[in-house]
Symmetry: C2
Subunit: 335 residues, 2 copies
DNA sequence: ACTGGCACTCGGCTCCTGAGAGTGCCAAGT
DNA sequence: ACTTGGCACTCTCAGGAGCCGAGTGCCAGT
């Protein structure tokens, strides 16, 4: 069904369409891509590609444009992600190199991705599965309320409020904090939860301890990967003139953390592409998402990616996403 | 120059144009707004209003549309900000009521503002000038590096890294933290800086103390108002069909914290309006910004506002911004 | 299996025209 | 002095005709 030449035709059509955003016809095709056959032959191939769902015509007597299925085939079989050039690599490296802390790494990454792909970038906050608890702290802000701080070995700080009985003494709060801190130090999230359970079981007269432990358990349970940063939103304006209608739902989707997490959540350690209707979220079905996990080998920390028009330059976008993911991963591993 | 009727004509034109986004002519005007004069009279008034720069014609033989100057006059003299309805007030109140902490208040506020104005909302993180230090903490993450945490009475947590001599003992770190903590507790930022200076002067043999104090001083010095949150970006799609050209610079501006801060920075405690070219940032000169300070009376904590098309409903937007600012202020004062 | 030729389709461009909205101006009325 | 009706004028917009050209599908020939 799909001989070599038909695949070459599909590749040429996609290349041309990505570049010029115009339906491409048989004549232009043979002229621009040395296919060494006549337009008539190409026409037959195009007809057959259309029959199998890889191409479509906006209207009779216009050229063909690729369908989502066509892009899918292109991405799967017709393209090789070519590595970035040396200057590009150096640019990435120096741009990330100046980062001061975790927040800075993430915000630089998102700007970098948006910049080099000219699309909308999404970066999930990294989480280290091997992160351990470094420190906890309970700070009494009001008579009946305290602030619980949790610091992990990656420098991540989370917080929660704890309701206290009004009559609680400051010393009790402090000693409880010290006690819990000693118990969970250098434990992973899962280990800590187990230890905390034992701690509560052993001390049933105490009122402060259970309150703090509950808050801490809840804090440990909340998935710390639920933070996502978006950047380069202005690039939706460049997605194409035909995009104006579909733009509002896209912008809306980009504000929904939940949607973004689901988008990124499906990505593995390598580069994943979702094309058009392959995206579950209806607002994003006229876009493609290129994502990649990043972090240490065999230990994915988080995911990042870009959202662009289905008519995007897949090889180049995939190369950029992969490169940025690798550099950020390496950078985090070092720092 | 500007008698009562001309002002009424201007008001009617703006009202109509805001509603229908179409240039409005003399005939439609007398029909829709009981002006009790003939179209010819209105035409004379319109000609004179145009001559003075309040109106303009997209082309000959089209109706008139307001200029920035026209909107300015409208906002300054022709409109009264009418209070919100009871249900609206209740909606604001309940929506903000569920907020758990400061982050939550801000994120709810930005969503609320975007929702009720159908425009892009911008909220600056609040700062309490009377905030005092509640707690500091130094956590050693690596042999040569520690994390400094600062908690204020408003529940705000900031952090910084401290470089330590490798040979520093854990006990010294801890005692230093306790010592500094005791010294600055319940002090305002300014008082703390002074106290810290004395502390360093009195103990010149210590190596740990100066390192931590330096980091803390830097932390206190960084302006905590430099954080801004944006929401409702999808609403730019509703700014109008004529807006598509100007959209990219607007989206770009919305990603620049610096630009947003300057936008908001000019606002006073009451509602401020910048119309079109009154905005300094070129990318936003086809938009209007409605902003307001919020916080306790005579003690502005921060600013919030919305960005919309110059052709916006000013009275209603101003009412919404004012109401939200007041509610958030009240809410912060209580919690 | 490929190619050249040919008839056909259909969108886009241009030109034209008429309708309609809106204006500016003027002379007359109050 | 202001207001008004009338009128000529301008200019956009919508619709229709007609042409062009790009592109297709098909077929017969190599």
């Amino acid at each position: 069904m799909l001989d070599e030449r038909k695949l070459a035709v599909l590749r040429a059509i996609i290349t041309d369409y990505v570049e010029n955003s115009e339906p491409v016809g048989s004549k232009a095709l043979v002229e621009r891509y040395r296919l060494d056959v006549s337009p008539a032959t190409i026409r037959n191939d195009m007809a057959s590609l259309e029959e199998e769902g890889y191409l479509t015509q906006p209207h009779t007597s216009a050229g063909r444009i690729p369908t989502d299925k066509g892009y899918r085939l292109f991405v799967d079989r017709l393209t090789t992600v070519k590595p970035l050039s040396q200057p590009e690599k150096r640019a990435i490296s120096t741009f990330l190199g100046g980062a001061a802390d975790l927040d800075d790494v993430v915000s630089r990454t998102v700007r970098l991705l948006a910049q080099i792909t000219q699309q909308v970038a999404i970066v999930q906050y990294p989480i280290v599965s091997t992160a351990v608890i470094r420190h906890i702290d309970v700070i009494r802000l009001h008579p009946d309320r305290a602030l619980l701080l949790l610091v992990t070995s990656t420098g991540r700080i989370t917080q929660a409020h704890v309701e206290l009985p009004v009559e609680t003494r400051d010393e009790d709060v402090e000693s409880t904090a010290v006690r819990i801190g000693a118990a969970v130090r250098n434990l992973t999230s899962a280990q800590a939860v187990r230890t905390l359970n034992e701690l509560v079981r052993d001390s049933d007269t105490d009122t402060v301890l259970p309150a703090v432990v509950n808050a801490l358990t809840a804090l440990l349970a909340t998935d710390p990967t639920t933070r996502v940063v978006v950047g380069g939103v202005q690039n939706v304006a460049r997605f194409g003139d035909d995009f104006h209608a579909a733009m509002e739902p896209v912008l809306e989707a980009l504000e929904e953390q939940v949607v973004l997490l689901r988008l990124l959540g499906e990505a593995r350690n390598d580069v994943t592409v979702r094309i058009g209707h392959e995206n579950e979220h209806v607002g994003l079905q006229s876009t493609s998402v290129v994502a990649s996990g990043y972090g240490m080998p065999d230990d994915v920390w988080a995911t990042l990616g870009v959202v662009g028009p289905t008519r995007m330059n897949y090889p180049s976008t995939m190369a950029s996403v992969r490169a940025v993911a690798r550099y950020v991963g390496r950078f985090l591993a070092e720092g």
